[in-house]
């Protein structure tokens, strides 16, 4: 019988730990209940959990909240990963006439410069083919560092996140399984996914699978600086089950997403942003909810194979979000999946 394991430096008598990470979340978060701790608000912690013979670090970040509960006399700790520094760092120049600006800069360099304002130093960035603010300087003022950096990431249809080691990544990570032959496989930084492991019925506690077009957008409009705009649309949408374009929305019906981006000042960049975002959003949603016996390997942004006999599914999924729940009720991992 596996013994549950949880180690957090400075914590003793841990009653429960819950770690959440997700593609759409700005930060990963952790909630720990314990009897005592030497850690306090602002301290850095790392959570290593799993089983005595299979445990891994699943979280690192800063304590944001500490509360004491009565009558149990236990301590509840809430923590967020390192990107919380960028969330909490509000960019405000002392002189409104001289705000933080950048001009003619690659998207990845712009993001790094903004995040460094918040004291973040550990980066793993890929190179985009986007150059921003080519002729007009982009001003960053009266906005959180994360919000501005993430708006750049969204504009180029890439992903900004911090991993369990506190390293910040900016890369071409789509919120679905990336395979060759997809519409976006020619974009810079595209790397086809490989499955980390197979989850079958011996590990699955619950599984459901659904299809929807809730997030599907088959028309994208991008507004840049004055006079700069671009749009793109497509009648058919990508079906990740058949790996083909199909008519999913009614004929001649378009759902539109729009972006107003102050640091786009060329038609070429605006058009590229529109094209990339159409490839990102113009697809059928194939989504799953999976609950399994706890597995510390399975964090958000990994790709797994799900083999379920009841639904007759044996295919790869992207872990869109993952929640690790560890307590005397056992250790289980719940995931939201995307095809």
């Amino acid at each position: 019988m596996p013994s549950l394991y949880c180690d957090i430096d400075g914590f003793s008598n841990i009653i429960s730990a819950n770690v959440q990470s997700g593609h759409p979340s700005s930060t990963s978060s952790a909630v720990i209940e314990c009897i005592s701790t030497t850690k306090d608000i602002g301290d850095f912690i790392e959570i290593d959990l799993g089983y005595s013979d299979n445990h891994k670090k699943v979280f690192s970040g800063y304590i944001k909240q500490k509360s004491n509960k009565a009558p149990e006399n236990t301590i509840m700790i809430t923590a967020n990963d390192v990107l919380i520094r960028a969330m909490d760092y509000f960019v405000v120049s002392s002189d409104p006439e001289t705000p933080f600006t950048r001009q003619n800069i690659k998207a990845e360099d712009f993001i790094q410069d903004i995040l460094e304002l918040a004291g973040l130093t550990s980066f793993d960035f890929d190179a985009t083919d986007f150059t921003l603010a080519i002729s007009v300087p982009a001003e960053v003022n009266l906005i959180s560092a994360y919000d501005y950096a993430n708006s750049i990431a969204e504009y180029v249809a890439w992903h900004l996140y911090a991993d369990e080691d506190g390293v910040i990544h900016f890369l071409n990570r789509k919120p679905y399984v990336m395979v060759s032959g997809q519409p976006d496989d020619a974009q810079p930084g595209f790397v086809a996914d490989s499955s980390l492991k197979t989850i079958d019925d011996s590990n699955i506690l619950e599984f459901d699978l659904r299809y929807d077009e809730r997030d599907l957008r088959n028309r994208v409009v991008v507004y840049g600086t004055s006079g700069i705009f671009a749009s793109v649309s497509r009648a058919t949408s990508w079906n990740p089950v058949t790996d083909t374009y199909q008519q999913i929305l009614p004929a001649d019906f378009y759902k539109t997403i729009a972006a107003a981006v102050p640091f786009i000042d060329t038609i070429e960049m605006a058009q590229k942003a529109a094209d990339y975002n159409l490839q990102l959003y113009n697809r059928l949603g194939v989504k799953g909810s999976l609950s399994i016996l706890g597995d510390p390997d399975l964090l958000a942004r990994k790709v797994i194979t799900v083999d379920n006999t009841i639904l007759g599914i044996n295919t790869t999924f992207y872990i869109y979000s993952a929640e690790h729940s560890w307590s005397k009720g056992g250790y289980n991992t719940s995931m939201e999946l995307r095809k």
Binding site: L4, D200, I204, F207, L293, G330
Partner: protein, 118 residues
């Protein structure tokens, strides 16, 4: 000799319960998977006679002080919290259990539940 701190008890029954904390999870593939979270420290239950109001009162006060008390037994001794206690007087006219007390002292049957503190 059995005592809680310095209070003498004439024990008739003594029982300890120990327990592991095991979660049971049932995957679709069948069977049950067990996860061991840890274990609970022993819970001791004892029934015995106590002679005198003062001694019963001493024990009763231990059920609301939140303090550790030392249980002395002929076997293993240790510190316990007194989680609960029930008491009832026995129909006794004269007691000879404890010759250090007056023979007219009342005799009670008490049941104690003790939480061992490692």
């Amino acid at each position: 000799m059995w005592m809680v701190d310095t209070t003498r008890i004439y024990v008739q029954e003594y029982q300890t319960d120990t327990k592991q904390i095991i979660a049971r999870l049932n995957p679709l593939g069948g069977g049950t998977v067990h996860h061991l979270f840890g274990y609970e420290d022993p819970i001791a239950k004892l029934e015995g006679y106590v002679v005198g109001f003062d001694r019963v009162n001493l024990l009763r006060n231990m059920t609301n002080d939140g303090d550790l008390h030392f249980l002395t037994t002929p076997y293993a001794s240790g510190y316990f919290y007194i989680n609960s206690m029930s008491e009832k007087p026995t129909p006794t006219l004269y007691q000879t259990l404890d010759i250090t007390r007056d023979c007219e002292e009342p005799v009670f049957i008490v049941n104690l539940e003790l939480y061992y503190n490692a």
